[in-house]
Subunit: 391 residues, 2 copies
């Protein structure tokens, strides 16, 4: 099975279309351009991070069907950096023979958290216990059986923990439902995890699967703050997680890179938390620390090139640069001199024009085999400060 | 001495101007954009490699004074990727207080090969014996004393060995002089070297000097074909080379990254061959294999950030993708599938629209601690072929 091997086995200017021009789009475009591609981005913002290195920017919403068709006229293949991409348009394109990866069929399973979890459970993949919410009555009933806390989750359009509500007691139930008023919700048993980890896994059209070293993730206020690579887990847990990731990829189909977030509970069970059908914040470390980055691996996968197992050239720590909670507007970042004195530190600033509370403005990856990861995290946080722009 | 520390110690959109938009400009722009910069390029070609990721391209010749002033109006600091940059314009800018790095004074020493070698010899740095050529008579006289072969070199505007003529016997002398007819020339004693090596060395405005691991270079037809990192040399020779590089940087002044090419002769003497006041082909490996790339180090140096000693994350082999000798025109590169099956291989294709004999179209870096470098070189050359475009 060679699929469209002939189309891309020779280097000519392949035109890659990316739905979404955020930092993932920017880093993907950078890798594509290093290799041999032209990049066209669809994004609503003329100043989006990827705009600065795209060959062309189409201004439009991710959910705008017509804009996705417009994009398809400019490129040879379409991928996306955001789950909000209009799956109907992508599906129509795919059915007409246009190359869209990962497959919109996979995207539409993942886009809805309930559908995603149900698919995984039906595929006998370990996930926390969950149920679709149909009424307050039924939610109360679920809680009385499972016990508190539980997580109420909006099934769609929720990012970075903003779609989650932790219900700690019965009298918070109606408040939580009001918070998501009108949106489809699911309830999930809260996993009392001792660690959160993630694995980037890629699958190409020929079905080859490869995975990256496991990242250990530290969230703050529901936003990823730090990843430590390799995760500080036992060999047994590592094996469980990898097996689970491969099993998931075999079930999901679709080609491209996927970020699979997992919990390790107190009994060392590994459960799938969420799947992203795209490069993932916890895989950024691969740019500096691996022989292949998650962005190159994604491109290899969707063009059906050979997928190798990336090797870890150095241990690494990734720390996000997040907008402060008390300010929205133009900003500047101080402390670069101190940061640059940390051996192995590389900074990525995405170029967003304004900060917002907890907005991802950039990240730092430190490659180091002999420093304490939490010390590095503290240093990066102590040195780099985001503040209102001074001029 | 903090110099213009205040200007750049806070991350705001720093605008970097680069004279030259070839592959060095493209890779420098890519690193600048990852960090936090905007990039404006001056290049005569609208399709130059850097054009695809620059924020703005000014079309004009490197030697055009006015275009360099135009560039200065768009940016906060100017650097260059090519020695042909108009040193007079750059010097005028520097004298008016505009930031130009490396200093045009350093550039004007290096631009002329005779001036460069004389400066080095006057600074008591080991170089091969040489003399300015004033007449055929004097050249004959030089040869009769030094013996054959000697190298006749055009002092200016010569790249990639095209400015060198190897004179093997007396009856080639007048032919050689005719070859460079009208150009200023120098004659140099041919060094019967057993190895060619190079060191990338950076110096920031505060005077901190740092150097990269030494590359061992293999040329074919006077063009760099392969670099092996680290160079396969003894500890003693390594120390000699590093000492020589640091001594050179202390003499030359100027901030930025410099590529210093050296010979190791049969008695293990280390002699300086040539200096480039810019990133260098033999330092490309640092993108994948070092904790800091030569392009980031250059940016750190000219913005006067801390300069750390880059660490080698993995051994590496760099192989250039060169245009075949029998074809000029649109091209395609075949064999990408095979290349991608080499663990640790990363491809850079510069995006030049046409190939020419020996033109540098891209390069491959393979990070590997346990493969034979010459086997990797052969594999890359066997797999990747440049040919006339099929459509």
């Amino acid at each position: 099975m060679t699929l469209y091997k002939d189309k891309f086995s020779i280097i000519k200017p392949v035109r890659l279309g990316i739905v979404g021009g955020g930092q993932l789009g920017k880093m993907m475009a950078a890798e594509a351009k290093r290799m041999f591609m032209k990049v066209v981005i669809l994004d609503p913002s003329v100043d989006c991070p990827a705009s600065s290195i795209a060959d062309k920017l189409i201004i439009g919403d991710f959910s705008d069907e017509q804009k996705i068709y417009d994009l398809s006229k400019e490129v040879d293949i379409i991928t996306y950096e955001i789950e909000l991409a209009n799956a109907t348009a992508l599906n129509n394109l795919e059915e007409s023979g246009f190359l869209v990866h990962p497959s919109p069929k996979t995207l539409s399973i993942i886009q809805n958290k309930y559908r995603q979890k149900k698919f995984l459970r039906d595929s006998r993949i370990t996930v926390p216990d969950f149920e679709l919410v149909s009424s307050e009555e039924q939610l109360k009933n679920y809680c009385s059986i499972s016990g508190f806390p539980v997580l109420l989750k909006a099934c769609e359009d929720s990012y970075d923990g903003r779609g989650n509500y932790l219900i700690k007691s019965e009298n918070e139930i109606s408040k939580a439902l009001t918070y998501f008023s009108g949106r489809q919700c699911m309830v999930e048993k809260f996993v009392n995890f001792k660690k959160e980890i993630s694995i980037m896994v890629a699958r190409n059209l020929s079905g080859t699967i490869s995975y990256f070293p496991i990242a250990e993730n530290i969230h703050e206020n529901h936003i990823l703050k730090t990843s430590i690579i390799p995760a500080r887990i036992s060999k047994e847990t590592e094996k469980k997680a990898i097996d689970l990731a491969i099993m998931t990829m075999k079930s999901l189909k679709g080609s491209g890179i996927f970020g699979i977030e997992m919990f390790i509970d107190e009994d060392d069970n590994v459960l799938i938390n969420e799947i992203a059908p795209r490069p993932h914040n916890s895989g950024h470390y691969s740019i500096e620390a691996c022989s292949i980055s998650q962005f190159e691996q994604h491109i290899r996968a969707i063009l059906n090139y050979p997928l190798l197992q990336p090797s870890l050239l150095s241990n690494a720590i990734m720390v996000n640069i997040l907008g402060p909670n008390n300010y929205t507007g133009p900003y500047e970042i101080t402390g670069i001199d101190d940061l640059f004195a940390i051996p192995g530190a590389k900074i990525h600033v995405y170029g967003k024009l304004e900060t917002k509370p907890s907005r991802k403005l950039g990240h730092v990856t430190v490659v180091s085999n002999n420093m304490d990861p939490l010390l590095i995290k503290c240093n990066v946080e102590d040195f780099l400060k985001v503040r209102e722009a001074s001029s």
